[in-house]
């Protein structure tokens, strides 16, 4: 639970004729992480392996299937099929079907492209001829004159043109369309070309090029529109054909894509191995608890022709990491890996993360109303994004945080949507609303801690510091455990830091004497009371006054001891870590800060919203309800977002820095996660 799966390094050596069989076996076992044989390790005897002979054929087929899949827009990752196809069946079909399928897809696609192309060309032609259709002149009449210049195009100011042309010459003819677009055709004696073009420019002329061909433009358009209609019918049919084809072949394409991908993987596996002329060597990591099974299977299936040797792992080996956690905890591995994949020698903090992350998250929200909203939101999130592993995991975190938030809201803070169930004191905040006064029934859920009072704020700060002390202390302890073997210096520094941390925490507890004293009250009648009040508390409290601050002797001793330890082991530079641990402890006050900030925001919005609702005026009341819902949602969204990020941060920065190294290598067993095929 706290350690990644133990790995054993194993060497498999065999004769080359057994290579394919070995690969086949390893592929089905799916528990062997092969260490890539690099050219750096090669020498005159041992060289990098080459893909098997069938590799290129299989790759080609895979390429064909993939291109067909792409043309039919089939995405293997997003499809589901009713029944998995057996490998034997695919093997049987593949050589026949692939050729056929590829040709059919190609011809279908070609037909479609051709039709589309033709359609587009007709469209283009119609667009060219269209302007001329408004004037009843055949196309051949626009050209072929020796003494005439012809202008065709649009003008902005037709009136100006008609008025001014006669001032240039009388020998002209002007046609224009009846439609609004002011298309004109101007025929004018050639020697006046320059003047005419100047005038046209002044009237905002844009030329339209004369299309090729002879005849009346209207007739062209009629003919082409007819052709377009036929084409679009054909196109619809072709699209239908393609869909039909896609439906018929989808299963085969998906399954054969997977089958071929697996075949390629197997065929190319030898490039991971070292080989000599007649033998091969596979260097790999196997989870230790699987080693017996692997060895037995290989020996039985290969009749002992494979040499299997376990080698002792060296210090600089980097075994891959395979975490072993129960299912609910496994979801938190995602959050851990977002930071970094654990190192093989790291302690796996997933379990701690799965407890404390939602605890902090929930504490910061600490409200039963938002808690229930969180749970619902989390469920919705998991439903909406059930295809994405990351998002479903986040949904899961939100649900657990919601549960914690509800518990805190019910038993500690006694509030729902920022409103307390009842007022405890009555004196403070008399004007404030509570659920009891609003609903007119007494709800006996007290607020143990009032977020909006100065005392409550102090209590929350003390809780934050306690949480920080325990969390950081745990981190440092784990750090000591991890480092004690390979880096004694670091381990001792961490012990020193633990002392300093204790000194700081004690100092703060004594400062918050009254708050803590109240919490200890229930212990008054227990058997540990004499020890607690007789020895422990006086011991902690005895100290000297420094600038109005009581510094307990115990705290002094711990602090000095810690600093001396650090200086001895790490030198003066180690004192930086003392500063760091101090600021890390303070950093946990964000728990209180966000808790209170969110509550204050909700409180203010509730005052505004409820004030409007209870104003007596119906319209203002309805507006108030809408406004209040909107504002509450805003508090919820902001609160959930910041609490989540801050809870993550407290782990990533404060906690992990004490022991976590990360940068591990993910255990990646040789094999394939089959989705569309079975080996049966």
């Amino acid at each position: 639970m706290f350690r990644p799966q133990e790995m054993t390094r194993t060497l498999l050596i065999g004769a080359k004729q057994d290579l394919e069989h070995t690969i086949e076996l390893l592929h089905t076992l799916e528990v062997v992480h092969i260490i890539d044989f690099t050219t750096a390790e090669a020498d005159e005897h041992l060289t990098l392996g080459a893909p098997t002979t069938k590799a290129s054929g299989v790759s080609q087929n895979l390429l064909k299937v993939r291109s067909s899949a792409q043309m039919l827009s089939l995405n293997p990752e997003k499809q589901t099929i009713s029944e998995k196809l057996s490998e034997k069946q695919i093997q049987h079909d593949i050589s026949l079907k692939i050729q056929d399928m590829e040709l059919s897809v190609l011809s279908l696609m070609e037909t479609k492209t051709r039709l589309e192309e033709h359609f587009r060309k007709l469209d283009e032609r119609i667009r060219q001829v269209e302007p001329f259709a408004t004037m009843d002149l055949p196309l051949e009449d626009y050209q072929g004159y020796d003494h005439l210049s012809v202008f065709t195009g649009y003008v902005r100011d037709l009136k100006k043109l008609t008025e001014n042309i006669p001032t240039i010459t009388q020998e002209y003819e002007l046609f224009f369309s009846d439609a609004d677009d002011q298309m004109i055709a101007l025929f004018i004696i050639k020697k006046h070309t320059e003047d005419a073009s100047k005038l046209l420019n002044d009237c905002g002329f844009t030329e339209v090029k004369l299309p090729e061909g002879t005849g009346l433009p209207k007739q062209f358009i009629e003919k082409w529109t007819e052709q377009k209609k036929e084409l679009s019918e054909k196109l619809v049919q072709t699209t239908k054909d393609i869909l039909e084809f896609r439906k018929r072949y989808a299963e085969f394409i998906l399954a054969s894509e997977e089958y071929l991908a697996i075949e390629v993987q197997k065929a190319e596996a030898p490039v991971l191995f070292g080989t000599t002329e007649h033998s091969f060597m596979i260097d790999c990591w196997v989870p230790t608890h699987e080693i017996q099974h692997v060895t037995e299977t290989l020996e039985k299936e290969m009749n002992g022709s494979l040499y299997i040797q376990q080698i002792e792992s060296k210090h600089d080996d980097e075994p891959p990491t395979l975490l072993k956690n129960s299912k609910p905890v496994r979801r938190f591995e995602y959050l851990l890996e977002l930071y970094s994949i654990p190192n093989y020698r790291d302690i796996d903090p997933s379990f701690i993360l799965s407890l404390i992350f939602p605890l902090f998250f929930g504490l910061m929200i600490g409200d039963i109303g938002y808690g229930i909203l969180l749970i619902l939101f989390g469920i919705l999130f998991m439903k909406l994004f059930k295809d994405s592993e990351g998002f479903t995991n986040i949904g899961w975190y939100i649900i657990i945080a919601g549960i914690f938030s509800s518990i805190f809201g019910l038993f500690l803070f006694g509030d729902m949507f920022g409103l307390p169930f009842m007022l405890a004191h009555g004196a403070e905040g008399e004007t404030a609303y509570t659920w009891s006064t609003l609903l007119g029934i007494h709800i006996p859920i007290p607020s143990v801690i009032h977020k909006m009072e100065s005392l409550g704020m102090t209590q929350l700060l003390v809780i934050s510091i306690i949480a920080g002390y325990l969390h950081l202390g745990l981190g440092l302890l784990i750090g000591v455990l991890v480092e004690r073997k390979h880096d004694k210096k670091h381990a001792i520094t961490k012990i020193g830091l633990l002392f300093v941390l204790t000194a700081l925490a004690l100092l703060i507890f004594v400062m918050a004497d009254w708050t803590i004293g109240q919490w200890l009250k229930p212990l008054k009648d227990t058997t540990i009371a004499p020890a607690l009040w007789g020895t422990f508390i006086p011991l902690v409290k005895s100290g000297f006054s420094f600038g109005g601050l009581l510094v307990p002797y115990v705290s002094m001793v711990f602090g000095i001891l810690g600093i001396i330890l650090i200086i001895i082991v790490a030198g003066g530079f180690g004192l930086v870590e003392v500063l760091e641990v101090t600021s890390h402890l303070m950093s946990y006050t964000r728990l209180a800060a966000i808790c209170v900030a969110k509550a204050a925001m909700a409180f203010a919005f509730n005052m505004i919203g409820l004030g409007l609702i209870l104003s007596g005026n119906i319209i203002i009341g309805i507006l108030g309800v809408i406004l209040l819902i909107f504002m509450q949602l805003m508090v919820f969204a902001l609160g959930a977002l910041s609490s989540g990020i801050q809870a993550v941060r407290l782990h990533y920065v404060e906690f992990f820095m004490k022991f976590y190294k990360g940068e591990g290598l993910r255990f990646n067993p040789f094999g394939y996660k089959r989705k569309y095929t079975t080996t049966k």
């Binding site: 977002l338 930071y339 970094s340 100065s454 704020m457 102090t458 700060l461 600021s583 303070m586 950093s587 006050t589 964000r590 800060a593 990020i645 801050q646 993550v648 941060r649 990533y652 920065v653």
Partner: protein, 73 residues
């Protein structure tokens, strides 16, 4: 007494306000760089987030001081 309380309140306000400004300033730069890094390489997301939230401790110092002042009011 009232004047003194007012001065303390202003002090608390300055404490948290200026600390928050400092945090925002620091986060602006880091955030932009972190998003850039994450866009190039998704694995940087975790690290980017850490760098991004580091300056938040500054505002907490401001908050604690403001709170200590507030209890003196």
């Amino acid at each position: 007494m009232a004047a003194e309380t007012g001065i303390i309140a202003i002090g608390a306000g300055i404490a948290i306000g200026s600390a928050a400004l400092a945090t925002a300033w620091a986060q602006k730069t880091i955030g932009a760089a972190a998003v850039g890094a994450a866009a190039e390489n998704e694995k940087m997301f975790g690290k980017g987030l850490i760098y991004m939230v580091l300056p938040e401790t500054i505002v907490l110092f401001g908050l604690v001081i403001a709170f200590l002042l507030w209890t003196k009011m």
